[in-house]
């Protein structure tokens, strides 16, 4: 059996494993099996490639594999669950960088076969480099290394002009056949700068969508370089991910009710927070006993969980409290905002883990009309998703985002760790409202206190 046949067969199997793996990952029941299949595909692809005819530099290859793979494996293992999004971003950026590197080696060899291949190599390099630098910025922002959002004057014009110049330079490279080294270096530099400049003004709340977009970019770049290398595994995996990632990006943007153009060209900067206009009143504290009594004697309580519940791992306690209230004859429902937490679906996963039945969990559209009838809304570590500014304050950066209308309830109790602003750094007038009371503390301890008090009242 020749090495060529072995490699071709393996790549075929690898492509199938990737597609089946992704398919399995799109259903909660089979998701864990899916990643294992895709993982097997990756191992097979890597092993069999060592048999590629005519290759050398094996020592270098193994060192690079061990260093790159080992560092990423370790960092992925130790990272906190809440820091996952930025890790996805940085790994994705590295994939984009690898695609750009493939193109760079091809250009350095200088023996491109025809204009179409050169064009694909250049396009893949451009997209890959943009994804690389853009993802690095996204990582830096989510990790808190880069705190501020930079917005150039006439940002959109700069974006468009820079894109045009980079594309033009790519065209010159393709047409010239034998581009000079200087032209190539400038092309890669410009592409890197482009990715960084596009990403810099985008705020934290929009980041998941942007990361997903760069994920699709890297997929496309990998696919294009696959055509350049005539490597079917790269082509299939890259293009499948490119298409799937594009669709996923749209779905995510839709869940947040933000269009992609809005996110890229009209970003939430989080700097307009200074406005904070229209915030009147003071934050009023409430004791766990009062909170317990308010809920115990209510007819209807809606619970709005957020990132704070996830951090404190309070989901089990919250469900325990909900059950106590139900025993006392209170109607309890969970209201989930699509982007509550740091990842879409974050809250659903946690509540499911605690054993909350699906028919008690309601989406934004299903529950929003019920807030005016609720006696108490209990907000647990959520902020931006209940900020009325999104509905009323045109100057607010989150204006237009659909929110849970907690402010329309009779009473609002907010469990909150401190007095600070939320993830996006925007002040929340709900916390100052007449009918809002704050219960300070870690979500798990606070809910525990409430549980204790409900039991005392009931006994």
């Amino acid at each position: 059996m020749s090495a060529k046949f072995l490699i071709d067969t393996s790549y075929f199997i690898v492509s199938m494993l990737f597609i089946l793996g992704l398919k399995s990952m799109s259903s909660p029941v089979t998701a864990r099996r899916g990643i294992v299949w895709a993982g097997l595909g990756m191992v097979l692809a890597t092993m069999v490639t060592f048999a590629w005819p005519g290759m050398g530099n094996f020592a270098l290859m193994v060192i690079a594999l061990v260093v790159g793979g080992g560092a990423a494996w370790w960092s992925g293992k130790v990272v906190k669950m809440t820091d996952m999004p930025q890790m996805v971003a940085i790994y994705n950026g590295m994939g984009g960088g690898a695609a750009a590197a493939i193109a760079a080696v091809e250009f350095a060899k200088g023996d491109m076969h025809g204009m179409v291949v050169t064009a694909l190599a250049a396009l893949g390099a451009l997209i890959g480099a943009v994804s690389f630098s853009g993802s690095c910025i996204a990582f830096a922002k989510l990790q808190g290394i880069m705190k501020k959002t930079f917005r150039l004057p006439a940002q959109n014009a700069v974006n468009v002009i820079l894109s045009a110049i980079t594309l033009l330079m790519g065209t010159v490279i393709v047409l010239s056949g034998h581009p000079t080294a200087l032209l190539l270096v400038m092309f890669f530099m410009l592409a890197l700068a482009l990715g960084a400049i596009i990403t810099m003004p985008i705020g934290g709340a929009d980041m998941p969508v942007v990361i997903s977009l760069f994920n699709a970019f890297t997929g496309l770049a990998v696919g294009f370089e696959g055509f350049v290398l005539a490597n079917p595994a790269l082509i299939i995996a890259g293009i499948v991910v490119g298409a799937a990632g594009s669709l996923l990006t749209q779905l995510m943007a839709k869940a947040m009710n933000r269009s992609l153009t809005n996110i890229l060209f009209n970003p939430i900067t989080g700097e307009a927070q200074g406005s904070g206009a229209g915030i009147i009143g003071t934050m009023k504290e409430v004791t766990a006993l009062d909170a317990a009594a308010m809920m115990r004697y209510a007819h209807k309580v809606l619970i709005v969980p957020g990132y704070g519940m996830a951090v404190a791992q309070a989901q089990h306690k919250v469900w325990e409290m909900a059950k106590l209230l139900e025993e006392a004859g209170v109607e309890v429902k969970f209201a989930i905002h699509p982007v509550a937490g740091r990842m879409p679906g974050h809250m659903n996963v946690l509540l499911a883990e605690a054993g909350v039945p699906y028919d008690k969990i309601y989406d934004l559209e299903e529950i929003n009309a019920e807030f005016p009838q609720a006696d108490v809304v209990l907000v647990i570590g959520a902020n931006d998703v209940v900020n009325p500014a999104a509905r009323i304050d045109k100057s607010s950066p989150i204006y237009g985002m659909p929110i849970l209308n907690a402010d329309q309830a009779q009473n609002v109790i907010v469990i909150k760790r401190g007095k600070g602003a939320g993830y996006s750094g925007i002040e929340n007038s709900l916390f100052y409202a007449e009918n809002t009371h704050l219960l300070y503390g870690n979500a798990q301890q606070a809910v525990n206190e409430v549980i204790r008090n409900i039991k005392e009242i009931s006994s």
């Binding site: 998701a31 692809a45 790159g68 991910v241």
Partner: protein, 95 residues
């Protein structure tokens, strides 16, 4: 014919990706993003070939960086996805 075959592959692969993702519940958006991030880590294989066939120091350097980045994409992507999906394993007791 060659280039047309490539076009067909492109079209079918794009369609496959689209179909695989459509009608996915919101709770799986992030794990899927992470999972597809892992899958394009196969770029590692392309980088390995480039490094393996590299002859000049420049090509070797860029190829080396490529393999390192590709390996990080694959390894990191796998670990993170695996950990995210582990959340779907229902705990036996409510603690």
């Amino acid at each position: 014919m060659e280039s047309f075959a490539a076009l067909y592959i492109f079209m079918l692969a794009a369609f496959t990706g689209y179909v695989v993702i459509s009608r996915v519940p919101v709770i799986l958006h992030t794990p899927l993003m992470s999972g597809s991030n892992f899958v394009h880590g196969v770029v590692l294989v392309g980088a390995m070939v480039q490094l393996g066939l590299a002859t000049t120091p420049l090509e070797q350097t860029i190829g080396f960086i490529g393999v390192m980045l590709g390996a990080a994409n694959a390894a990191g992507g796998y670990v993170v996805t695996e950990r995210m999906l582990a959340m779907f394993k229902r705990e036996k007791s409510g603690k």
